[in-house]
């Protein structure tokens, strides 16, 4: 027995640098025309990426709205869904912080049908919303680099886990 288990050696560096950049970039890059004047190309965003991040914020707003709808339509699910809804909201907050120029003022609403009132059906409906959002974030993730890629990938994975739990 010799090696420690497990050993994610880079996690400390990760939190110190990239996540801070991802979080702070929302304000820093707006004033520099989103060209990464900080000199760190890894965390620079193009105008197209700014638009894509705004799309992902809307996607996450739909998840949050989906939980709100499911909880109001089927109160029997409150115990099961409240912690997941809180996680979805935390994801939205962090995504907004990483999205240059996002004001966070857009009203959240699901674009599809309303949540069913039957708890089992509401759960299935919500699962569809969560799964679609997980797939959208996973598809967007590789289009970014640095902290934003990590954040989008992590949120996609988190929603994928919720999808599995709701199954």
């Amino acid at each position: 027995m010799s090696g420690p288990l497990p050993a994610p050696p880079a996690a400390g560096t990760f939190s110190r640098r990239s996540l801070l950049l991802a979080t702070l970039a929302g304000t820093a890059l707006v004033s520099t025309g989103c060209t990464g004047s900080s000199g760190d190309v890894t965390d620079a965003v193009t105008p197209a990426q700014v638009d894509r991040l705004a799309v992902q914020v809307r996607v996450q707003e739909e998840v949050v709205a989906g939980y709100d709808q499911a909880l109001s339509s089927a109160p029997d699910l409150v115990t099961a869904l409240t912690p997941l809804a809180a996680q979805a909201l935390a994801q939205l907050d962090r995504l907004r912080a990483a999205a240059p120029g996002d004001t966070g003022t857009t009203a959240a609403a699901t674009s599809g049908t309303a949540a069913p009132t039957d708890p089992a059906e509401a759960r299935v409906w919500l699962r569809g919303v969560v799964a679609a959002s997980a797939a959208a974030h996973a598809e967007a993730c590789p289009e970014f680099t640095g902290g934003r890629a990590a954040l989008l990938g992590s949120i996609a994975a988190g929603l994928r886990g919720q999808d599995g739990l709701l199954a």
Partner: protein, 161 residues
């Protein structure tokens, strides 16, 4: 191994690729640890739970092969498995086994988010986000078995805010 789909306006430099390769090596080390660790997990679970363990082991064996092939194609020597590992706690019951599986999956997730952070190649990020999602899906099942509430994580692989 540039795939021509890296950052939108730049080509990856040698330094970029070196950072990506180093992150992939971390991921491979975590994969080696997971393959070893699932042997311990399986030994502590009742026979009826072994199918889940085998599925996890197979997923990591496949990842190991992918990473070894990827690094070798770049003329990078893949890290070898440690001759042995130290358990983070005694594994004496099925709940302990599930908790160890959570440690394995969360350790792997941390390395995959690091790969996402460091990768200059788009294809590497595609691999990483798929691996990260799969790890979290497995982690949810193991957290539930270990009695964790909620069994999901808002930010798999990222440090706690």
């Amino acid at each position: 191994m540039a795939d021509g789909t890296s950052s939108p306006s730049t080509s990856p430099t040698a330094t970029d690729m070196s950072a990506e390769d180093a992150a992939l090596q971390d991921a491979l080390a975590a994969v080696h640890a997971a393959i070893w660790g699932y042997g311990v997990v399986g030994a502590a679970l009742p026979p009826e739970s072994r199918d889940a363990v085998v599925a996890c082991e197979l997923a990591y064996l496949d990842l190991r092969d992918q990473l070894v092939a990827l690094l070798s194609a770049r003329q990078v020597e893949p890290v070898a498995d440690e001759p042995g590992h130290t358990l983070p706690f005694p594994v004496l019951s099925p709940v302990d086994a599930a908790a160890l599986a959570v440690v394995l999956e969360e350790g792997a997730s941390a390395t995959w988010t690091w790969v996402l952070d460091q990768a200059s190649e788009r294809s590497t990020r595609v691999l990483a986000v798929a691996a990260l999602s799969a790890a979290e899906l497995r982690a949810v099942d193991w957290r539930a078995l270990a009695g964790r509430t909620p069994p999901t994580s808002a930010f798999p692989g990222l440090p706690q805010a």
